[in-house]
């Protein structure tokens, strides 16, 4: 930028010198007008180059850095453009500071304009779910019912594209029986970060018995840190009665205390039984109906929930058997 300014000044000086020479000797013929197009050409290319470079840099900054990072990196640069002369500064220092401030004002304003535009775009309502009540109110006679929130990709289905076969969508083993059995105990909601136009045909084909009551897709998610998160607090349900089952549960939900991690499934894993293995635990939860599910899930944290549930059930059976034996011994 400063080099461009220096070049512009040199050109103007040359032009002035030429005019003086022309005034000195009147009988000389008028000069050819070759200088003007050359100057305009240079200015045109300089402006186009500056705009292109600025656009490319803005694109890269948008891709590589978040809003806060860009703001932090450019703070010192933007503050240096506002020059305040110190008391002890000499006239030369004041002049240099003024020159630097004037030269840096345009890029500083450009950076601020970019930051304002990006903040305006990124902090729109697109990052939030489209409403604070994603589900309608529960019926009065269903206040005790738990809500089972299911993910879609790598939890109930898995889709893949290959050059030989194109798009293929696979059902996880046992998904039909899983949905049909648990619809007796739960309000089943599918909450995914896919688009509506993908979710609707998949659910229509997957759920032929209408076990799934509601479908929530990408507009219902919360966009944060470049990912689409499920926000279970917006479900209009008692947060102590919400369970979120997903192959990527802990990294795709804003309330990890309500998550049931399940193994992520792909179609080559044909011996997978994880969905059916969850039926005993989920049925037990629905029948015993704890007032708040979050302490129960906290006690299972870090474990494989179905196998841990089976182990605890065996322990419970063994303890009951011991008590029975002890009673018989005393009698």
């Amino acid at each position: 930028m400063s080099l461009g300014i220096l070049r512009s000044r040199a050109i103007s000086l040359a032009s002035k010198r030429f005019l003086c020479t022309n005034a000195a000797s009147a009988p000389l013929p008028p000069p050819p007008s070759a200088a003007s197009p050359s100057r305009w050409n240079f200015l045109k290319y300089a402006v186009v180059g500056a705009l292109t470079g600025g656009t490319a840099f803005a694109g890269y900054a948008s891709y590589a850095y978040s809003l806060e990072e860009v703001e932090e990196k450019t703070r010192s640069f933007r503050e240096s453009a506002k020059y305040a002369a110190g008391d002890g500064a000499t006239a030369l220092d004041k002049f240099q500071g003024l020159l630097y401030s004037t030269a840096m004002t345009v890029p500083a304003k450009a950076v601020e304009l970019y930051l304002d535009a990006r903040r305006l775009i990124e902090e729109q309502s697109y990052t939030e779910p489209y409403t604070d009540k994603l589900l309608p109110d529960l019926l009065p006679q269903e206040q005790h019912v738990f809500t089972l929130v299911l993910d879609l990709n790598e939890t109930l289905i898995h889709y893949i594209w290959t050059r030989d076969t194109g798009w293929q969508t696979f059902k996880r083993p046992g998904v039909d029986a899983f949905l049909e059995h648990l619809a007796q105990f739960y309000e089943i909601v599918v909450y995914t970060d896919e688009q509506n136009m993908f979710v609707d045909p998949v659910i229509e084909r997957l759920d032929t018995k209408h076990c799934i009551r509601y479908r929530l897709s990408r507009p219902a998610t919360k966009y944060q840190d470049g990912k689409h998160f499920r926000d279970l607090s917006k479900l209009n349900r008692n947060p102590g009665k919400v369970l979120y089952l997903s192959g990527h549960a802990l990294e795709s939900c804003l309330q990890p205390e309500n998550c049931l991690p399940i193994k992520a499934w792909q179609q080559q894993d044909i011996d997978d039984t994880a969905l059916l293995d969850f039926i005993p635990f989920l049925e037990f939860v629905a029948r015993s109906s704890p007032p708040d599910i979050r302490p129960v899930l906290a006690s299972y944290q870090g474990c494989d929930i179905p196998s841990e549930f089976i182990r605890r059930s065996k322990e419970h059976q063994r303890r009951m058997q011991e008590q029975k034996n002890r009673g018989r011994f005393w009698k």
Binding site: W167, Q168, T169, K171, D176, I270, T273, L276, P280
Partner: protein, 184 residues
Amino acid sequence: MADSSSNSKDHHNTRVYHPYQDLNVPIQKLYNLPTAPEHLFPEEAARTHRSWGDNLQYYTGSGYLAGAITGAARGTVQGLREAESADSLKIRLNRVLNSGGLAGRRLGNSLGVVGLIFAGLESGMTHLRGTDDLVNSAVAGLGTGALYRAAAGPQSAAIAGAIGGIAAAAAVAGKQALKRYVPI
């Protein structure tokens, strides 16, 4: 109900599973699990060849592209060969670009039309016969050649049809041999 219907449909493709099997409780419910990946959209799995639209785009596009590249290369070489020593660089470049562009467009259009006719005939044959094999391609090639040269007279059309049929059959046989013997 679902289990019985799925049972009647594909009982031999499933295995019985009991989620409570580790607990010594009476069997309440047995689930039939598939032994192969189960498609959500069976029509996706049943697809064995390109649709007629895909065929049309594939043959027409690849034909035009191959013709354009080949014709442009040939025209460029011809333009370079015709250059005279007295020509300036600008005139030489202009001749090369003109020759390459003209030959490329001409050959590209010809091969694109051939691809269009072939795709249409092959898809029609597949639809009529209900099967997709070598005979479809050979007959489509024969029809393409005959149709392309129909305006030049019956003898030329017959020769072009024979060449087209042989070329199509050779292409399909070559493709099958390639798939069988070349480890890709």
